[in-house]
């Protein structure tokens, strides 16, 4: 009897340890020297951060479009966003919530396509609560009251989930960093989105423009920061995009 109890406790340990805030994985101890000379046993310890190779065969073209987007940002998009900042922040947050809520069907469909059923039911619950109690999505009460935050999911991620490679790096005019997989993803999302069916082309472009400019007005000058800090902003954004997409897909 005691044997059973002990093994039960052991089992309990084994079940809990790999989960949340666990302790000591035996294999990784000793990778990093605690003291002494900093030579090069580090390569192994940092193996998980293996550099991400981004295939960029049309770099000169991409850099050209990057330059164009840079000008577009500083001479058109950003001034408009700065103008929007006269609107009080809470109102702009609500506008952002409204558009995020409208995009719920896209996220829901992609969660279903990946058989992430828990995420899909969360998405559905968020949509129902925020559309009703959150007054047509203006308030994200599912997050504020229910603690269920929005989780991004798009068709590019769905394709990645099923093993589609990113392909080469591609900078799109206006839209920015992308790749063939995510271009197909954009097209897929367009068809999963109810908005294009409800609006005519100009209304759709207007809605998208308001959404993006509103987001940009809430952004804390991320692009300016990258331009200020980085030796080569083009490379930084290229590699950051690849890293971020990969992390989103792996989630």
């Amino acid at each position: 009897m005691r044997g059973t109890a002990t093994s039960l406790v052991l089992l309990l340990f084994l079940l809990i340890l790999p989960g949340g805030l666990a302790v000591a994985a035996p294999d990784s101890a000793g990778d990093l020297p605690v003291t002494g000379e900093a030579t090069f046993p580090f390569e192994e310890a940092f193996a998980e951060e293996a550099p991400l190779k981004v295939w960029d065969p049309i770099e000169p073209v991409n850099r050209g479009i990057f330059w164009f987007n840079d000008k577009l940002y500083f001479y058109l998009l950003k001034p408009v966003a700065r103008g929007l900042r006269v609107v009080p922040e809470p109102a702009r947050v609500s506008v952002g919530n409204f558009f995020d809520n409208l995009a719920a069907p896209v996220r829901f469909a992609n969660k279903l396509l990946q058989f992430k059923l828990n995420d899909a039911s969360d998405e559905l619950a968020r949509f129902v609560f925020n559309s009703t109690f959150g007054i047509a999505g203006l308030f994200d009460i599912a997050k504020e009251q229910g603690g269920v935050s929005r989780k991004e999911e798009d068709f590019g991620q769905t394709l990645g989930h099923y093993g589609t490679g990113a392909g080469f790096y591609l900078v799109l005019p206006l839209f920015g960093p992308s790749n063939p997989r995510d271009v197909v993803g954009r097209v897929g999302d367009y068809f999963l989105d109810p908005l294009p069916y409800a609006l005519n082309n100009w209304e759709l472009i207007g809605a998208r423009a308001v959404d993006k400019e509103n987001d940009l007005s809430l952004d804390k000058d991320t692009y300016e920061g990258i331009k200020r800090d980085e030796l080569d902003p083009y490379l930084f954004i290229r590699d950051a995009y690849a890293q971020r997409r990969q992390a989103q897909i792996n989630k």
């Binding site: 059973t4 805030l21 035996p26 605690v34 580090f42 951060e49 550099p51 991320t222 800090d229 590699d239």
Partner: protein, 206 residues
Amino acid sequence: MRNGLRFQKFCIQFTVAALLVMAAGNTMAAEPLTQVRSTVDEVLTLLRNKSLPHEERRQQLTAVIRPAFDFEIMSQWVLGPNWRKASPAERQRFIDLFTDLLEATYIGKIEAYTDERVEFTGQKLEGERAEVETLVKTASADIPIRYKVFRRGERWLVYDVVIEEVSLVRNYRNTYGEIVRKEGFPGLFARMEEKIREFKASKAAS
């Protein structure tokens, strides 16, 4: 029946004991989070203190950040294969420049969130390494920032900052590698010096 009850009692006792042991383990391990928290809090306090003269604030920020980060290890890893090709003088030169640059970059990135709330949401321990998870709560979004640390003696030193799933060090490794390949070390150093000059100029201006 009696046996069953005794068995249950055993299970409960052992579970409680197990939980206690785990709780004790966790308090001992709270170290990385506590250390990163105190660094981040100090940095934010300094950034929020607008009455401090600029030069003095910069010096105090340096005094907080330098001992908390391991710029030497970061430098080695960022240069990767190029580290081995570099002469000792070039290595030292790189460490110095990289330290200045990364410090300024980190301050710049966290400065944007000076007015926001930073929550410390947890830590993951893995032997000599750990990850401290933070969440910057802005009005419109929660931005996850993770600090990767490893133990060196008594202290946990930061060797990477991961902002929204983008590891800074991993990104630098690519960028710097590419610049060294195209322009060699002289080109890289020139670019880094140029950036540092820009930082100093903008800091003096503001």
